[in-house]
């Protein structure tokens, strides 16, 4: 199955040669955006720079400083850790480091969204992106029909490389694990997800009464 997905990969973006780079668009859709964090970071730098402009401008025309003379501030920084309680200094440093860590991780982590590409949509191969939640609810419906249980007895978790189907059988009526697995696998084969997840079915040892 994975080989058929691999074969399909190259023609995902090449169907329309005149259009934009679909591969890039698909990357955008399956990875989270940093727009909000970027705006926050830019706003932070903007505020600091605005203060710097104010102080240096005031200084350039020979007026008294607004909050603190730049030279005094610099001298205080040079004199650290003297002139401030260690606890406060450590707290400020901790907050700064925390903020920096948030920005850094946002910049470096891959930031994959819980989405899959769908290669099995018709013949012409329009690029389709599906939220994992939608895949899960579709698989849950299929598994529920195969196991002949109510919707509340099936729980499906879809992650990047794995599909986990939890079935709680009705008490006294056994659930055929292989039948459920075959049904889920059949549905996945029709979807041709990319990356292709591996399905796993877990039938709970205890049943539900009165379902």
């Amino acid at each position: 199955m994975s080989s058929s997905v691999d074969n399909r990969r190259p023609d995902n973006g090449s169907r329309r040669d005149n259009g934009p780079d679909m591969r890039r668009v698909l990357y955008r859709e399956t990875h989270s955006t940093r727009a909000a964090v970027s705006v926050a970071a830019a706003a932070l730098v903007l505020v600091l720079a605005a203060y710097g402009v104010l102080e240096s401008g005031v200084h350039a025309v020979g007026q008294p400083a607004w909050l603190i003379e730049p030279q005094v501030a610099a001298q205080r920084i040079v004199d650290l850790p003297a002139g401030i309680t260690p606890l406060l200094l450590a707290a400020i440093g901790g907050v700064l480091a925390m903020l920096g860590l948030i920005f850094l991780l946002n910049g470096l982590l891959p930031g994959k969204r819980a989405r899959h590409l769908l290669a099995g949509a018709g013949v012409e191969g329009l690029p389709v992106v599906v939220d994992d939640e939608v895949i899960a609810s579709s698989l849950a419906r299929r598994a529920r029909l195969a196991a002949n249980v109510t919707p509340e007895q099936v729980m499906v978790v879809v992650s990047q490389r794995q599909v986990l189907v939890n079935v709680r059988p009705t008490s006294g009526i056994p659930v055929d694990q292989d039948r459920v697995l075959d049904a889920v696998r059949d549905e996945l084969d029709h979807m041709l997800l990319e990356p292709a997840p591996v399905p796993r079915v877990i039938v709970a040892p205890s049943g539900v009464i009165g379902a």
């Binding site: 859709e29 020979g62 850790p81």
Partner: protein, 203 residues
């Protein structure tokens, strides 16, 4: 699908993060590790002496202040401008044009088809479907060429590949009306409306 500068965002966030993390860690070290203080004093005092030297050597002729202050203010203003430009780049890319072609017919001029045509036509076609809780169609301009994004919100239990295949048919019909191949991205998503709505029973 919009033209948010993804790589630039990552680079700038990483640089800013490193700077903040470094200065924060330095402050924590200064407060907690006594051995760091002498090193910091020697390093920062030397740097500060160099800067004061620079400032005193660049005074206005006849004045007490250095013209470096003006340079600094201008540089910071430029930085502010860059930051505003960075913010303005986020999330851009929506457009209102689906197709623009030169018309070789008798009437002079071009033919332009607005994005509203596709949006209204697809909305209309998808409206009565029982398996959809909602649909939004937006026109984007990806690197100058128009593209459509179709966002579908199916009810619970709908098979996404069948839905996508049917919507692909609709889009092909739209293309034959417009007379041009439009790059389309279909996004089948989940939201609050699908989560709490009734499940799709019959398909």
């Amino acid at each position: 699908m919009n033209s948010t500068p993804a790589l630039l965002n990552r680079i700038l966030l990483t640089v800013l993060g490193l700077l903040l993390l470094g200065s924060g860690l330095l402050l924590v070290m200064l407060a907690t590790v006594p051995a760091v203080a002498p090193w910091w004093h020697s390093w920062s005092a030397a740097a500060w002496a160099g800067i004061t030297e620079l400032f005193s050597s660049t005074r206005f002729p006849g004045g007490p202040e250095s013209w470096l202050w003006i340079v600094m203010a201008l540089a910071l203003l430029a930085l502010m401008g860059l930051m505003v430009a960075w913010i303005a780049q986020q999330g851009k890319g929506r457009s209102n044009l689906l197709a623009a072609e030169y018309d070789p017919g008798e009437a002079p001029g071009d033919v332009r088809i607005g994005g509203g045509v596709a949006e209204q036509a697809l909305k209309q076609a998808l409206e009565g479907r029982p398996d959809l809780a909602g649909a939004t169609i937006t026109t984007y301009s990806v690197k100058g060429s128009p593209a459509l994004k179709v966002r579908l919100l199916p009810r619970q239990g709908v098979a996404p590949h069948l839905l996508a295949a049917e919507v692909s048919e609709l889009i092909r019909a739209l293309e034959s009306v417009v007379g041009k191949e439009i790059p389309v991205l279909i996004h089948i998503g989940a939201g609050a409306r699908t989560r709490f709505g009734r499940a799709e029973r019959v398909r």
